[in-house]
């Protein structure tokens, strides 16, 4: 009967949750980064970038671990394809956070004037979308525990809907921030292009978090 233990393989759920946590920890660093941009503190920006690089690497390690431990011979409660898709979106959250930190550090971008508040509001809400995404992924083990029971599925679906609402809000915040940016685009000159890129990336954090949720919604509906 020792074979029974071998038969029950390592569930991918724990590592998936671990990876989402690592990715969201990356995204969280965007808030102190924005504070450093507002303070105009280049040393703090550089330190934040180094920290995000480190965290992104840690998330990548978990990702590779998951990919190499998900052989086709495993019969899983969730489709392999779906999990790998979700993993990619989770990975994008960490990647985008890293892109943001790199650009801010390389160009030493300081936040001043009318753009400050819209930028900060967008960043805070986008990170909140990631946190909600993490909450959703944290339900994966409960989904399996209940064998995808109706009650649990409904619970997860309402959490995903909440995630969708947060993401819609970030769209509106992005719109406000872009308008603030374009109002001062003449005085910023070519830098406005990079600020625009930065805003899009910050909004992307929420976008990828929502995609994690939407992919999971398809998965639980199966």
């Amino acid at each position: 009967m020792a074979w029974i233990d071998k038969l029950v393989g390592r569930s991918p759920v724990g590592p998936m949750q671990e990876h989402m946590t690592a990715a969201v920890v990356c995204a969280r660093q965007i808030v102190p980064l924005v504070e450093a941009m507002i303070a105009g503190d280049n040393a703090a920006i550089a330190a934040q970038r180094i920290e995000i690089d480190r965290l992104e690497n840690a998330a990548d390690d978990i990702k590779h671990e998951i990919r190499s431990h998900m052989p086709r011979r495993l019969m899983m409660a969730m489709e392999r394809r779906d999990l790998l898709d979700i993993l990619d979106f989770q990975d994008s959250i960490a990647d985008v956070a890293q892109d943001i930190a790199e650009l801010v550090d390389q160009r030493q971008m300081h936040l001043t004037g009318t753009l400050t508040e819209p930028f900060r509001a967008l960043a805070v809400r986008s990170v909140e979308a990631c946190e909600q995404g993490k909450k959703v992924i944290d339900e994966l083990d409960e989904l399996i525990e209940t064998g995808f029971g109706d009650r649990e599925v409904a619970r997860v679906e309402s959490m995903i809907s909440e995630l969708g609402r947060i993401e819609t809000e970030t769209d509106e915040l992005l719109d406000t921030a872009c308008r603030s940016l374009f109002a001062i685009e003449d005085e910023l000159g070519v830098a406005s292009l990079y600020w625009h890129q930065l805003l899009l990336w910050v909004a992307d954090l929420a976008d990828y978090a929502e995609r994690v949720g939407n992919r999971l919604r398809l998965l639980v509906a199966k």
Partner: protein, 419 residues
């Protein structure tokens, strides 16, 4: 033929190999089912061994007769076989199965004792007399049961898991529900054990209640079980609430139910696997007695003392070696949580006990594998490693010719040495 010199030797060898087999069956198989309960801290190792030992022995002694009869005389045409041939053959079957068991334990191969015994008996039957000595109809029904028993237990496990899902897990308050619903499962297990044991099952100890009596007593036993279950489930500590793991408390109480199903597996295992050790021994003792007294004993039921020896052998194996297995299993972090273990074990135990009652030797491990797959298909397990299934299927196909070949070799060996 010199009775006084030759035959005691045969019994002597058969007895040693049979006891080794019983010991080994107890050492390896049972301990795993109990291991998880030990690991969760719900039972101490010695309590687990005691409980498993009692159920294992009861299974072997009270419900082990049917399969033992099948192994002893059900697969070959006894009328075509002389007592000597039967003695050499059954010795060969025991030695062959014992050797394979040694190899399996040594190299960690999933070889089923049941399959090796059946393969070995067919093997020596076919060479000692000829293929016409083998009751092929019976053999095919046994082989078919090796396919159907995992299928049945898988289907049952799927259903039982859905039941625990809708009755307990996917509820507003699963912790309260497990305490409420749990006693019904206790009732079910005790009722089935009662029914299997009582209804025409105890002829060998001269107890033969009618079907009404059997039902009545089983009902009483079931209610008694439900009472025990109610008390145990109420007393089970759920521990602290963990907001991140909303089901951890429920699972901790589920351990009580898993102990129950581990007992059920122990009973079922005893009732089916004791035959692998005792069936051939019983055949040899019967043939020796017949040779000595002239009384045809192959028609009389298996003697209770032999089942008792088998049961004790299994229990001793459990106590002397099983605790090591329990320690290892208990320490390992298993992905099979108590609620899944419960569903799989209840399904497997039910399937095996029914097979035992019908006198069909099945493999406990294979039945459990089928059950785990069933829970997996119900999306209740994170990941099931299908390679293990392939390994087990491959070993089951290869065990038969291997056991038969070995048995043929040992048959000529014993024939040469003992005649």
């Amino acid at each position: 033929m010199n009775l006084f010199l030759d035959i005691p030797v045969a019994i002597w060898i058969a007895g040693i190999v049979a006891i080794y087999m019983a010991w080994s069956i107890g050492a390896n198989d049972v301990a795993n089912a109990m291991g998880t309960s030990v690991g969760s801290g719900a039972l101490t190792i010695w309590a687990a061994i005691l409980v498993a030992g009692i159920f294992e022995f009861s299974g072997a002694f009270l419900a082990g007769g049917h399969v033992t009869d099948t192994v002893r005389k059900g697969m070959l045409d006894m009328d075509l076989m002389s007592n000597d041939q039967l003695i050499w053959g059954m010795l060969a079957a025991l030695t062959s199965a014992g050797t394979l068991l040694l190899v399996a334990t040594r190299f960690g191969l999933p070889i089923s004792t049941t399959h090796s015994i059946v393969g070995a008996i067919v093997g020596f039957g076919a060479v000692s007399i000829g293929p016409e000595a083998v009751k092929w109809g019976k053999i095919w029904s046994i082989v078919a049961s090796w396919v159907t028993s995992p299928l049945i237990s898988g289907t049952l496990a799927y259903g039982i898991f859905q039941l625990t899902r809708s009755l307990i897990l996917d509820r507003k308050d699963p912790l309260a529900r497990v305490r409420q619903v749990g006693p019904f499962f206790f009732f079910y297990v005790f009722f089935i054990i009662g029914l299997v044991t009582l209804f025409k099952g105890l002829k060998h100890v001269d107890i033969d209640p009618s079907i009404q009596e059997s039902l009545l007593y089983s009902l009483g036993l079931g209610l008694f079980g439900a009472l025990i279950g109610t008390v145990l489930l109420r007393r089970a500590q759920a521990g602290k609430k963990d907001p991140g793991q909303r089901f951890s408390q429920t699972e901790r109480v589920f351990v009580v139910l898993q102990i129950l199903t581990a007992c059920a597996v122990a009973f079922a295992h005893g009732s089916n696997d004791v035959a692998n050790a005792i069936g051939p021994l019983a055949a040899i003792v019967g043939a020796v007695n017949e040779g000595a007294t002239g009384v045809v004993s192959s028609k009389s039921p298996v003697e209770p003392w032999m089942l008792a020896i088998g049961g004790i052998g299994i229990a001793v194996g459990l106590a002397t070696w099983g605790y090591k297995v329990m320690e290892t299993v208990g320490k390992k972090i298993t992905e099979l949580t108590p609620s899944r273990g419960f569903a799989a074990e209840l399904a497997a135990a039910t399937t095996i006990v029914i097979a035992s009652r019908m006198g069909i030797p099945v493999s406990t491990t294979h039945t459990l594998v089928g059950a785990v797959l069933g829970v997996g298909l119900a999306r209740g397990i994170g990941a099931v490693d299908l390679r293990v299934v392939a390994t087990i299927v491959a070993s089951w196909v290869s065990t038969l010719p291997l056991a038969a070949g070995l048995a043929i070799f040992f048959y000529y060996f014993f024939k040469g040495v003992l005649s």
